[in-house]
C-alpha cells in the first residue's frame, strides 16, 4: 500500500517541506536515540547536529512535508517510523541538548567531550587547500582559485563569504587551535597563512598584549606573497579587532589580504574593501593610528571604539564577518 509519504516523494520538488527527520542506519547509542526524530527544518538543532555522525556513519536527514508530519503526529501509517516531540521536549532539546527518549531516559546530545558524543562538524569535511593545489597544474589552479574567490557561499549558521574563504578554513582552524592555546597562557600568537595556497608560512608568540609581526610581513613582501594574518587576543583583551589590528591591515594591504582575530568563541575576519583607493587607505591608516593612540592613552572607551568600528562596516570600508563557535 502506498502511504502518503511515498506518494509525496514524487513531488518533493514542488511541495513545501518544513520538517526534517533523522533516519539512523546504525546502532551507535546516540545515533540510534535520534532515529525517527522529527523537528522543524529551521530548528537550531540542525545547525549542530547533522550526519554523517562519525566516520562511516550512514544516517540520513530527510525532508518531511506538513501533510506527512500531520499523518505521523496523529498516529497514521508513518507513525511507527517517526517521533514527534512535545513543545516542552523540543525546547529542552534545542536549548539544553537534552533529548527525552520514549522509555523516559534523558540523554545529552549536546556534549562534545564525552565518549561517543557528537564530535563531527560539517565544516570538517573540507580537503586542505594545499592538497587540492597539488592535484592541479598551475594554469588550471589559477583559474580554479579565481572562480572560488568570486563564488559567494552562505554557511549553515548564516556566515557569508566566498568559496575561497571556506577552502582556507582548515588552515585557519588549525592556526586558531594554537592561538587559543597560547591565549589561555596569556600570550598573543600570530600565524601567517599563504593566501594562495593555505600553507602556513610563519608563527610568532608574543606577550599578553602584543605580538610582533613586522618581520613576517617584511618576508612575505620580499617573497611576493599575500597572507591571511591570524592572531588572538587574550581573554582580558578587546573582543573586537583593535585600531592597531586595522591599521596593520590597511598599511600593509599589499601583503595582508585578510586579518583573523580570535577571541574566545568568536573568530573575527576583516578585509579592506578592494575598491578603496591607495590615497583613501593612506588617510584611513592615519586616522586608525590616531585611534590606536587614543585607546592606548585611555582617551577612547571600548564603547566608542565599537561605535567607530561599526561605522567602518556600515560604510563598506571593511568587509567584516564574525563566526561563533569552536
Amino acid at each position: 500500500m502506498q502511504t502518503l509519504r511515498s506518494m509525496c516523494s514524487k513531488y518533493r520538488g514542488k511541495i513545501r517541506q518544513p520538517w526534517r527527520q533523522w533516519n539512523a542506519t546504525e546502532f551507535q547509542p546516540i545515533a540510534a536515540a535520534l532515529d525517527g526524530l522529527i523537528l522543524p527544518a529551521d530548528s537550531p538543532f540542525w545547525k549542530d547536529h547533522f550526519p554523517p555522525w562519525d566516520w562511516g556513519c550512514r544516517c540520513q536527514v530527510v525532508p518531511i512535508t506538513a501533510e506527512e508530519y500531520k499523518e505521523i503526529a496523529q498516529g497514521g501509517p508513518g507513525a511507527a517510523q517517526g517521533r514527534v516531540l512535545s513543545d516542552v521536549e523540543r525546547r529542552e532539546l534545542e536549548r539544553n541538548g537534552r533529548l527525552a527518549l520514549p522509555n523516559g531516559q534523558v540523554i545529552n546530545v549536546s556534549a562534545r567531550q564525552d565518549e561517543g558524543a557528537l564530535r563531527w562538524d560539517p565544516r570538517d569535511l573540507r580537503i586542505p587547500l594545499e592538497d587540492l593545489r597539488r592535484a592541479y597544474d598551475p594554469e588550471v589552479w589559477q583559474r580554479f582559485a579565481e572562480d572560488m574567490r568570486g563564488a559567494r557561499v552562505t554557511l549553515a549558521d548564516g556566515e557569508r563569504g566566498t568559496a575561497w574563504d571556506w577552502l582556507l578554513d582548515p588552515a585557519r582552524d588549525d592556526a586558531r587551535r594554537q592561538i587559543m592555546a597560547q591565549a589561555r597562557r596569556d600570550k598573543e600568537m600570530a600565524v601567517a597563512i599563504d593566501w594562495d595556497t593555505g600553507e602556513r608560512i610563519a608563527a610568532r608568540v608574543g606577550t599578553a598584549n602584543s605580538v610582533s609581526v613586522a618581520d613576517i610581513i617584511q618576508d612575505a613582501r620580499k617573497a611576493g606573497r599575500r597572507i591571511s594574518l591570524e592572531h588572538g587576543h587574550t581573554p582580558e583583551g578587546s573582543d573586537l579587532p583593535s585600531p592597531q589590528d586595522l591599521m596593520r591591515l590597511v598599511s600593509d594591504s599589499d601583503v595582508v589580504a585578510q586579518l583573523g582575530v580570535h577571541v574566545g568563541w568568536v573568530r573575527h575576519t576583516v578585509r579592506l574593501t578592494e575598491e578603496v583607493s591607495r590615497k583613501g587607505s593612506e588617510r584611513l591608516a592615519e586616522r586608525l593610528f590616531a585611534n590606536a593612540l587614543a585607546m592606548r592613552d585611555g582617551k577612547m572607551s571600548t564603547a566608542d571604539w565599537e561605535a567607530r568600528f561599526r561605522g567602518y562596516v556600515q560604510r563598506g570600508v571593511f568587509h567584516y564577518e564574525q563566526r561563533v563557535g569552536r
Binding site: R95, N96, A111, R112, Q113, R119, D157, G158, E159, R160, R177, M180, A181, R184, G264, W265, V266, T273, E275, V276, S277, K279, G280, R283, L284, R287, A290, N291, A294, K299, M300, D304, R308, R310, G311, Y312, V313, Q314, R315, G316, V317, H319, Y320, E321, Q322, R323, V324, R326
Partner: protein, 64 residues
Amino acid sequence: MNNELDAERPSPEELERLKRRAEYFRSLRPKRNLTTEELDKAIDEIIKEEAERDRMMEGGSAKS
C-alpha cells in the same frame, strides 16, 4: 585541545547573544558593492566625524 575549548563553551544565553551580535554586524553591510569614489568619500566622512568627536571629547574633558 577541543576538550579545553569545549570546557570554555559559553552558556546558551551568551552563545545566543554572540550569534545575535554576529548577525547584527552582517546586517550593517551596504546592500551593494560601492565604487572607489563612494568609498573614498565615505573615508573622508569618517575622518571628519571622528576628528570632530575627538575635539568634542577633548573639549569636554578640558572643561571638567
